[in-house]
Symmetry: C2
Subunit: 418 residues, 2 copies
């Protein structure tokens, strides 16, 4: 069994301790703060990856249909190389990217194995030049294609060890450092699973660079006429595939997609009230900050103004960015901002883009009280001291909560940022 | 001829006037600051779009292979509905999205027409409920598919009017408000052109919602056996296409992609120097801030620390976000940050990810002088007063320049942000 990472505070939510420990006054949001160094420039070095794969200190995080293997909902579990070998083989990184493209055969399912990074706090013997630490990988064990039986075998072996794949849309119960490790694995496995074909030409693509790139090979060994006896001749030449624009130069289609979104605490022109909104499907009295997707060729500040006007009718003056949060459901980057309404732009109008059931201006003191007693996940009850009918807000793991803490705390007063 | 927008300061670069005019102390970067209200929620309303299309105040921006129609390199030119009718027909928005999907025929090229928004400063008669202003559209006039001849006809007609399609990789000579209009058109036309197929299933897709969404239709009228005489029977049923995951619920693959990138001014722990880097292909003495792509499940702050360490070896403490810039080459959102090095993390090491030819710490005064006399685009000469051998930096239209202005100006001192 591989050593478990030496994580600080494996308690329910340790966001506060994580951020004060590392970065002074910066707000580090849940799903950020990974303890791993991605050493992204080493992913294409198949010698390095091959060596990291089989080191005794290496940990493999397994995801089945995006559900992570865990000991319990707060703590991930990891497999060893020998436990995943049945599915991934001795070494899926034996070949260079160039060789893999040359030998591409679209009828063969290849295992999806991601290199996540090195935990440099653990010095247990793995070294590569000036880099050292315990390697972390993630493996997609979702049964599919020609590897269905092997994947099921790995899943059964893990279940026999009393480990479970934690289902559910969110995984906000994980301790913060492991939530960041899971977020990286989930985002990349999901991107690979959603994009088996090339958007540029419609042909199937191949995952390379330890799960962080998909290329559109120019040839394919699939469906070749076989020699008598059924085996494809070793000297067979692959079929040429149709031309594709992604093969010329560098194309963003080859790389993972991240969707920037904006989420904003809007304060009134006199800084005394905050704008909150709610969707119909939320529990009674539960409100949050407004949010939406950035559009093409729009700055974050413009996206904040547009979304606030479209959803609430409120007109903003200055906007400043507070902090950001990765949100791997499936691939969002939440950019948290604080905006201030124009004096004559505070009237609420919900009918431009009728996404919200309600929006309202709330006094700072009411928000402070709700942050104290009324926060919870959408599926949970409010905290101790909550009085029925009082305002409810998102939990500390949500950036909305951190933005509201900022505007009801020192953010507006401590410096003329707005 | 349609009325031209009443743009403030159509001079070379009017970034300063634009930002002071609208948002007080906020830094609005080039390519942001569009004068148009996107009224994004009206794009799916084909009645609204059809009406806006034919209004006498409506302007059509034409892009040929992404080059915009212009009077000169500083000012866009616009066509009228009657001038583009040959290519786009009377009304490409006649049908609802539902009808278009039902009648989908992958063998027919449809014109790509984007609705960009309303210029609400111009009140010349176009009204739709509570919304009013001059409508703006963009049309892709790149000759292709079954519309090649019609596109060439529109291009020739424009050239006959002494208008030109401005070639070149960048379009930083455009006046700032029109640069933002062009950026929106370019980003969306490029996204549609790069993604004719579905990444989920490999089948061709259909552009809907006035150019801001691509759907994967479940049926296709293409390649149906034709009745005698060559015409497809009116009662013919379309062919069923293969299943696709993007048809269940909402998929991000249906929406435009924007790639978040980080760009950062890094100051030394004592705030006296700034870290700059250069690529081999840049002119001599030309340096800029470091930059790179955000990775999946990484906060902006983490991406800044990772990129700075990978490219320069420098270790950062706190990171704050300054401002953002849309960068439509092809689809980046540049998130500008300011980071501070840790006292024991200032040693430069270029060999982790050898992207830079050089990186160095530069005194604040040297940067101030270069901002005064040494700024220019990559292909231009430096400003007046520049002495050979002196530091050269990016122009005011680049967010790198604005970040350097911030750290050599009041940003570090005015408040304890770092």
């Amino acid at each position: 069994m591989p050593p478990q990472p030496d994580l600080p505070d494996p308690a329910h939510h340790d966001v506060d301790s994580m951020l004060s420990r590392k970065f002074g006054r910066e707000v580090a949001n849940y799903f950020s703060g990974s303890p791993l160094n991605r050493v992204s420039f080493l992913r294409a070095d198949h010698g390095f990856i091959s060596k990291a794969l089989v080191h005794p200190s290496t940990s493999f995080l397994l995801l089945n249909d995006l559900a992570p293997l865990a000991k319990d909902p707060t703590k991930l579990a990891y497999a060893t190389h020998s436990e995943v070998k049945l599915l991934i083989g001795e070494n899926p990184f034996e070949k260079t990217e160039e060789q893999m493209i040359k030998e591409y055969n679209s009828s063969v399912t290849l295992p999806l194995v991601l290199f996540l990074g090195l935990d440099e706090r653990k010095k247990d013997g793995f070294e590569h030049g000036i880099y050292s630490g315990s390697p972390y990988f993630a493996v997609d064990v979702t049964p599919k294609g020609t590897l269905e039986k092997e994947a099921k075998g790995v899943i059964e072996a893990m279940k026999a060890k009393d480990l479970q794949f934690v289902e559910g849309r969110m995984h906000m119960t994980l301790n913060a450092p492991e939530a960041a490790i899971y977020a990286q694995a989930r985002a990349l496995i999901d991107w690979n699973a959603r994009n088996p074909f090339c958007g540029g030409c419609g042909q199937p693509t191949l995952s390379v660079n330890a799960g962080t790139k998909r290329v559109c090979p120019p040839t394919d060994f699939a469906s070749l006429p076989t020699a008598q006896g059924g085996a494809t001749s070793v000297e067979a030449k692959p079929r040429e595939r149709a031309a594709c624009a992604t093969r010329k130069g560098v194309s963003n289609l080859s790389f993972p997609r991240t969707d920037p979104t904006v989420i904003m605490a809007v304060v009134s022109h006199d800084s005394k009230r905050v704008l909150l909104g709610r969707q119909r499907r939320w529990p009674p009295h539960w409100y949050s900050t407004l949010a939406g997707f950035c559009e093409p060729a729009e700055s974050v500040e413009e996206a904040v103004r547009r979304e606030v006007w479209e959803e609430s009718g409120v007109l903003l003056g200055r906007v400043v960015i507070h902090s950001t949060q990765p949100w791997p459901y499936p691939a969002n980057l939440m950019i948290g901002a604080i905006g201030q309404a124009l004096p004559d732009g505070e009237k609420i109008h919900l009918e431009h883009d009728p996404e919200l059931e309600d929006a309202k201006w709330v006094e700072m003191d009411e928000i402070r009280e709700a942050l104290r007693v009324g926060t919870s996940g959408l599926g949970e009850g409010p905290g101790e001291g909550y009085k029925e009918g009082g305002l409810r807000l998102p939990p500390k793991t949500a950036i909305a909560n951190q933005l509201l803490r900022a505007v009801t705390g020192g953010f507006l007063g401590e410096a003329p940022k707005i």
